[in-house]
């Protein structure tokens, strides 16, 4: 059935989280844009309060056990998450990324952890550390090493740009157990804060999402228990299963980043519209787009783009709920939403004129915030690569 109107249950969740966005996030959005690195303690009320709704928690694994399959009028977990994420992105992206216990590491743990690991770490706030100084988009080239020594793994290396680095309780660290094996050697490990040899080196100062902390970790002969290797302990020599497994979590998280972008773009458009209407511009979706003022025309095109990015995002999430392979759609959503969200928030600042660059309003902040959504969890270019390889049926050797 093709029907793109949200059911009641989804609208209820939407309005509940819109309430959080408006009443919890917005009032402190500017405060933590200025107080960079300070933990937004107002978010403590959200710890554990979110249940499965709208948090950064993708479903079990994308191959699926079938229990989240949507029935008739209710939507699946991915769709509900996307809807919630848009609302919170609409509230404030930096704050949304700082909700306790909802780190990217939590997504990885939920996706691949064993029962014991879930018991032990499931409730801990988990960051995810893939990126290294010499390894960004090319995440398969990481050089942090993990060597088994008796009952312990010994980790050495440097991880940068880790979201929630200061606030998290554990970090999922990507490292190679066999540098000669390439991607097949890459595994992920759970490292607890306070482990000797594991040090938070510095926190970054950023363009936007300043409410969210981003830090560097140095691992120096850091010893962790053998059981902290995430997921199955078996190291298959020539298999990239482990790497691909974690990559797969991106099929769930990329639509979430897209949803954040939809939320920020919506916030900017809403303010722009409010000010335009105050100024006497009538927006009624009626007249020939070429006969209206350039400002109205611009506004309509931006809103059309928002509609487009949101529908792509919904589709990617809906496919995941229906256990369809959604790698292509997830990247399409992130490519489109990341790029257009950036453009929309830029353009809104322009349409708002002096109000758009003044810190009296949040538009200038939204422009700074939304830019990250075209960068992390795979830059726009990387998404285009994935899409192009997919539709052209080219390997990563043929299209680099």
């Amino acid at each position: 059935m093709i029907g793109l109107e949200l059911p009641k249950s989804a609208l209820q969740l939407k309005s509940m989280l819109n309430n959080v966005a408006i009443n919890l996030f917005r009032p402190i959005a500017r405060k933590y844009d200025e107080a960079e690195h300070e933990y937004p303690k107002e978010l403590d009320v959200m710890r554990g309060a979110m249940g499965g709704l709208g948090g950064r928690r993708p479903p079990e694994d994308s191959a699926g056990k079938g229990k989240d399959k949507p029935e008739s009028e209710s939507l699946g977990t991915n769709m509900m998450t996307i809807i919630g994420t848009e609302e919170m992105g609409y509230g404030d992206t930096g704050l949304m990324l700082s909700i306790p216990g909802r780190g990217l590491g939590n997504a990885a743990i939920a996706a691949v952890a064993t029962e014991e690991q879930k018991q032990k770490f499931g409730d801990k706030w988990a960051a995810m550390a893939i990126t290294e100084p010499e390894s960004g988009s090319d995440s398969g080239s990481i050089t942090t090493t993990a060597v088994l020594d008796g009952d312990e793994w010994v980790l050495n290396g440097e991880k940068i740009f880790v979201t929630c680095a200061d606030r998290c309780e554990v970090v999922v660290i990507w490292a190679t157990v066999d540098p000669s094996a390439g991607k097949a050697g890459i595994k992920s490990f759970i490292v607890e804060k306070g482990t000797p040899g594991f040090k938070l080196e510095k926190l970054e100062y950023k363009l936007g999402i300043r409410a969210s902390d981003t830090g560097t970790f140095v691992l120096k002969d850091c010893r962790i228990p053998k059981e902290n290797l995430l997921g199955s302990a078996e190291v298959k020599k020539r298999s990239t299963e482990g790497f691909k497994g974690v990559m797969k979590t991106f099929d769930n998280t990329r639509p979430m980043v897209a949803a954040m972008s939809n939320g920020v773009a919506r916030a900017a458009l809403e303010l722009t519209r409010e000010k335009m209407e105050e100024g006497g511009c009538k927006l009624d979706y009626h007249r020939n787009i070429n006969n209206i003022g350039s400002m109205e025309k611009e506004y309509y095109m931006l809103e059309a783009n928002l509609e487009a990015m949101r529908l792509l995002t919904y589709k990617a999430a809906w496919m995941a709920d229906n256990k369809e392979f959604n790698s292509l759609e997830a990247s399409m959503a992130k490519a489109k939403a990341g790029r257009c969200g950036t453009l929309i928030t830029q353009k809104c600042c322009e349409l708002l004129g002096p109000l758009g660059i003044s810190q009296k309003y949040l538009a200038e902040k939204w422009m700074r915030d939304s830019k990250i959504l075209d960068i992390f969890e795979g830059t726009g270019q990387i998404q285009h690569l994935i899409i192009a390889r997919n539709v052209l049926k080219l390997s990563s050797k043929e299209l680099r």
Binding site: I2, G3, E73, M301, A335, L385, V391, L399
Partner: protein, 364 residues
């Protein structure tokens, strides 16, 4: 119910139309374009699928099925994927039939529907566009005035498909400041049909400029008679249709360029192996998807009985802009080969230009 999945019937009709397009349109589209003509047998074949009359009650010659704008949008995309002129020509009578069926009085339906809901394709048409700078479908300059129990129409229309052959033309005009539709007989002495127009694209589609000078029609030929009609609703339906057609034209360009880029070797490698080309193709892929989803969203809103003014408007302006972008990329990816008429991408580019300019060339 929320979802992106086509129903069984929708899949079936998509396949059926897709097959028809593959068999009788795609191969011939080039010749049709060069000859400026669509063979009537081809149109008749598409007509025989019955999409344009499916929701008309059986007593008037239709199948009495429930109205499905989504299904019509799917059909239009498929047809336009084959050829945009063909999509417009083959579904042309629907532009007359749909408003009549939805907004006409019993008498009007009885009188006109059986003329057009027949086994054989019988042209009738709709006139919305006007040949003046600043044209706006919501502010037609064509005027209707009540006089002695009749209605007098004055104005000019352009891009009226099949105006020469159609026996009735539905004309958009403003009556007492309200936009409405009026049925004009082809033989009305106040109606003049000029020479066939020549346009940037849509060569096979016959279109005409028409002039209404003191064109008198009986009051019964005002659509909906005394109560008039919901012109905005008609506009919504045609806007969704234009975006469905834009999706089809864009998809044609995207798929052609994609396959070409894999075959064409320069500097020792297929050009698709270069990011500059590959990324354009990626963009084409998701923009086609965006256009389609926006079309579906607007159509499904109508289908569930809601007003789709905003969604239809956004879908149309988006498709207008993105069809240009995608079909432009299509030509660029083929380079000089894209510029010559041997390949279809230049045709998609020319045809695509009209998505954002024209209104009311098809309906869902």
């Amino acid at each position: 119910m929320f979802g992106f999945l086509m129903s069984k019937e929708q899949k079936m009709i998509k396949e059926e139309v897709g097959k028809l397009v593959k068999d009788i349109v795609i191969e011939d589209a080039h010749d049709m374009d060069e000859n400026g003509e669509i063979p009537i047998e081809a149109i008749q074949k598409a007509w025989s699928l019955g999409a344009s009359v499916s929701k008309v009650p059986e007593e008037y010659g239709g199948y009495g099925m429930t109205d499905s704008p989504v299904e019509t949008a799917i059909i239009l995309e498929e047809l336009a994927y084959g050829d945009m002129s063909f999509a417009i020509a083959a579904t042309l009578p629907a532009l007359f039939i749909f408003p009549l069926e939805e907004m006409g009085t019993e008498d009007q339906k009885k009188k006109y529907l059986p003329l057009y809901c027949k086994e054989t394709y019988t042209p009738c048409t709709l006139a919305i566009n006007e040949p003046h700078f600043g044209f706006d479908p919501v502010e037609p300059k064509t005027l209707a005035v009540k006089k002695n129990g009749s209605i007098i129409l004055n104005g000019q229309k352009c891009f009226v498909p099949a105006a020469e052959k159609a026996s009735h033309i539905m004309v958009a005009a403003s009556l007492d400041g309200k936009n409405e539709l009026f049925i004009v007989d082809r033989n009305n002495p106040g109606l003049t049909v000029s020479e066939r127009e020549k346009n940037i694209g849509l060569y096979p589609l016959e279109t005409y400029e028409i002039t209404l000078s003191d064109c008198e029609i009986p009051a019964e030929d005002r659509l909906g008679e005394g109560r008039g009609c919901d012109y905005d609703k008609v506009l919504q339906k045609t806007r969704i249709a234009m975006s469905a057609i834009g999706t089809g034209v864009s998809r044609a360009s995207y798929e052609f360029a994609r396959e070409y880029a894999k075959d064409r070797v320069q500097f020792g490698e297929p050009i698709a192996h270069r990011q500059t080309i590959a990324f354009m193709i990626a963009e084409m892929a998701y923009e086609v998807e965006c256009m389609r989803l926006m079309t579906w969203k607007a159509a499904s809103k109508l289908e569930t009985g809601h007003d789709a003014k905003r969604e239809a408007y956004l879908a149309k302006i988006y498709a207008g802009e993105m069809t240009m972008k995608v079909t432009d990329y299509g030509v660029q990816i083929l380079g000089g080969h894209g510029y010559v008429r041997e390949y279809p991408v230049e045709r998609y580019y020319r045809n695509g230009r009209s998505i954002s300019v024209l209104e009311g060339m098809a309906i869902v």
